[in-house]
């Protein structure tokens, strides 16, 4: 499964939801499908996208939040899974695109390439709903199930280690940040 195909398959579900992504391929590919003011791309601070999602989910229980995370980022903040599990925000869907590599810095393999199982780690951390999927059909169904479940879900999607030709887009970081803030507060 290609990550951009997975993003494309659920893109229409994101229209009225609060979306936070990690840096690199996830940010560039989601922007390539069409930026929206409700999308925030955390273009650094690896590991903290899920923490930002938690901060939004806890303070805005009226909004559904989707975080698009990655294996390299989750591995930098495994403790964050225990914090997510501790508060179990019902309005948070945590997607982890697992390409088993640090793609944007040359594709060096992460620990998920040698057997570390992020869905199992998330379940053991106490995340109430977890799933691991490998095909677009499985991903789309699991994503829709997570949106309607009313329970915190970590959905690990195994994807190919391929990404866009370039990672820099024409959306300035601060432009994205203030646009997203205005959206969230309006």
């Amino acid at each position: 499964m290609l990550r951009i195909d997975a993003l494309r398959s659920v893109y229409d579900r994101l229209e009225n939801r609060v979306v936070v992504t990690i840096m690199g391929a996830v940010a560039a590919e989601l922007q390539s499908l069409g930026h929206r003011p409700n999308f925030f791309y955390l273009q650094h601070a690896m590991g903290l996208a899920s923490s930002m999602g938690l901060g939004i989910a806890l303070t805005r229980p009226d909004r559904q939040v989707v975080v698009f995370d990655g294996d390299g980022s989750v591995l930098m903040n495994l403790g964050g899974l225990t914090t997510l599990a501790r508060y179990k925000p019902k309005n948070l869907v945590h997607v982890v695109f697992d390409n088993e590599s640090l793609l944007s810095v040359g594709g060096f393999p992460t620990a998920t390439s040698t057997g570390s199982d992020l869905a199992a780690i998330a379940a053991a951390a106490g995340i109430p709903r977890t799933a691991a999927v490998r095909t677009i059909d499985e991903f789309t169904k699991a994503f829709d199930d997570a949106l309607s479940a009313g329970a915190l879900t970590t959905l690990v999607a195994k994807v190919d280690a391929v990404g866009p030709k370039q990672f820099v887009t024409d959306l300035a970081l601060l432009e994205n940040r203030f646009q997203f803030q205005r959206y969230l507060r309006s």
């Binding site: 930002m52 901060g55 939004i56 403790g79 914090t83």
Partner: protein, 172 residues
């Protein structure tokens, strides 16, 4: 009975409340126990107990973008553990943070394991260009917290207040 001051902790907590703080992230440390309990007992406060202090940067960033005022409670070693998040989330994205940092390793420190962090805390804050001040006397706690928050929000940047032994510890 811990010699951590309940009375001073209450003054700090009330000052945070008076500033409209609605979310506090924290990782337990001796000097912060009463503040954390006060947040936990307060139905108006969202307390987020962390596994590592850097998570608090992301949580406060999310809360801020959503329009909710927050504060972070940490030890100075928690500041050390949060540096990347402070630089590459809060500073890169101009996110205000109100950080209350227990200043371990200062004059009077008895725990040998706390003595190294105290020596680097202020230099580190200066290197990060984070404005900071001290909370070392009950008389200035409330105005300093309010002014720190004002600067943080007007500059869209992190600010730090160092919780000092003279304020937090009763057994001198």
């Amino acid at each position: 009975m811990s010699p951590v001051s309940v009375a001073s902790s209450r003054i700090v907590y009330d000052a945070l409340k008076a500033c409209g703080i609605r979310l506090v992230s924290a990782l337990p440390e001796t000097w912060l126990v009463h503040l954390i309990r006060m947040a936990d007992d307060d139905p108006e406060m969202i307390l987020v107990r962390l596994a590592k202090e850097e998570e608090g940067v992301g949580i406060s960033a999310g809360a801020h973008l959503a329009g909710v005022k927050s504060a972070m409670l940490m030890q100075n070693h928690g500041l050390l553990a949060s540096i990347n998040g402070i630089v590459s989330c809060a500073q890169l994205y101009r996110i205000p943070l109100l950080m209350l940092i227990s200043y371990r390793g200062e004059f009077g420190e008895r725990d040998p394991w706390q003595t190294e962090g105290g020596g680097v805390t202020e230099d580190l804050l200066r290197a990060l260009r984070i404005p900071f001040s001290y909370l070392d006397n009950v008389s200035h706690v409330a105005p300093r917290i309010a002014k720190a928050q004002t600067l943080s929000l007007s500059s869209n940047k992190p600010v730090a207040l160092l919780l000092c032994r003279d304020l937090m510890w009763e057994d001198q």
